[in-house]
Subunit: 192 residues, 2 copies
């Protein structure tokens, strides 16, 4: 089955897949990854349950595609912000980074706290997708002479504050998240 020679069919399939993912993103936005239900998506699209299994092998495949998409959008957001920046590019990178994380926290979590039980961070499309983010970062920090340690260190520092902010660890102890983030970024800029 599924030789799928007709380009019309292929286009249609792709369209349906996009629709499914769009609804899944809505469910992700309010409720998190656990709230994504194949059944509910089908109902909202006006089709009935198992129809969607013609387009996705299973729920995990759908989730996996959301992760890859999120990586792409994240990388794109970083790239456009960095390229359109007139001032310090590191500051631009960090700002865009946090902007994405705060605008779509559940989607950001998808990248760094994968909820998939049998999640494999080394799978081909995932590594390729995450490399795009690395490329943007490497572009900002210059070619890595130390095997990427400097880039990853900066990555870790940016992600660290944001991760705590998303977890609510700042507001729960009455600390100004904005202030901590700015402080951290200035320290980062200073160190480079």
């Amino acid at each position: 089955m599924a030789i799928r020679q007709s380009p019309m069919r292929a286009r249609f399939r792709e369209q349906v897949r996009e629709d499914v993912k769009a609804v899944a993103l809505e469910q992700l936005a309010d409720g998190g990854a656990a709230a994504i239900s194949v059944n509910a998506i089908a109902k909202q699209l006006g089709v009935s349950g198992p129809a969607l299994y013609r387009y996705f092998a299973n729920r995990d495949e759908l989730l996996g595609e959301l992760v890859v998409d999120a990586y792409h959008d994240f990388a794109a957001a970083l790239a456009t912000e960095v390229e359109g920046s007139r001032g310090n590019r590191l500051r631009a990178l960090a700002t865009a980074w946090r902007g994405f994380a705060l605008a779509e926290p559940h989607r950001y979590r998808l990248l760094f706290a994968p909820p998939l039980p049998g999640y494999d961070a080394h799978s081909e499309p995932l590594v390729a997708a995450s490399r795009r983010v690395m490329d943007v970062a490497t572009d900002v920090f210059g070619p890595s002479d130390d095997g990427g340690t400097r880039v990853l260190s900066a990555w870790a520092r940016i992600h660290g504050v944001i991760s705590l902010e998303l977890g609510g660890n700042f507001t729960s102890m009455g600390v100004d998240a904005d202030g901590v983030f700015r402080h951290e970024i200035e320290a980062l800029v200073h160190d480079l």
Copy 2:
């Protein structure tokens, strides 16, 4: 119902709750939070399904207790390591931190990437539990004169590398996690 005057009864209840949580931790260890099933726990304990709802109002309450317990154990692990340290206490803190995260990654994730849909990071017991971790950190970094920014900054940096390591972002791009962590810690020590 449930005046629960008898201390024997109370002890028995507490014992059962501990047993339930112990099995839940097994399921958490292999499979993550999503793999925790009330039904499966009951089966493994030799009782049948809904019996456990006499001890936990629902699955979320059980998950919530696991989070609080994890916070306590995490704080305790940090405290004993820091106190028993002869050398640099910051290094000891960071080492213990990473040790806990690598030994029980799913449990660590429970702390910083809560999987509960209606998760409230500001709930009383949660804030209290996380404050214990803060106390240990504050003890290492000295009294906070800047509203805790310095402590949280260090917290963010330590958590940042570990979070990326747990996510597989290092190995997937062929970077030595050990090296990045050591580099980050030395930088942190140097900055203070």
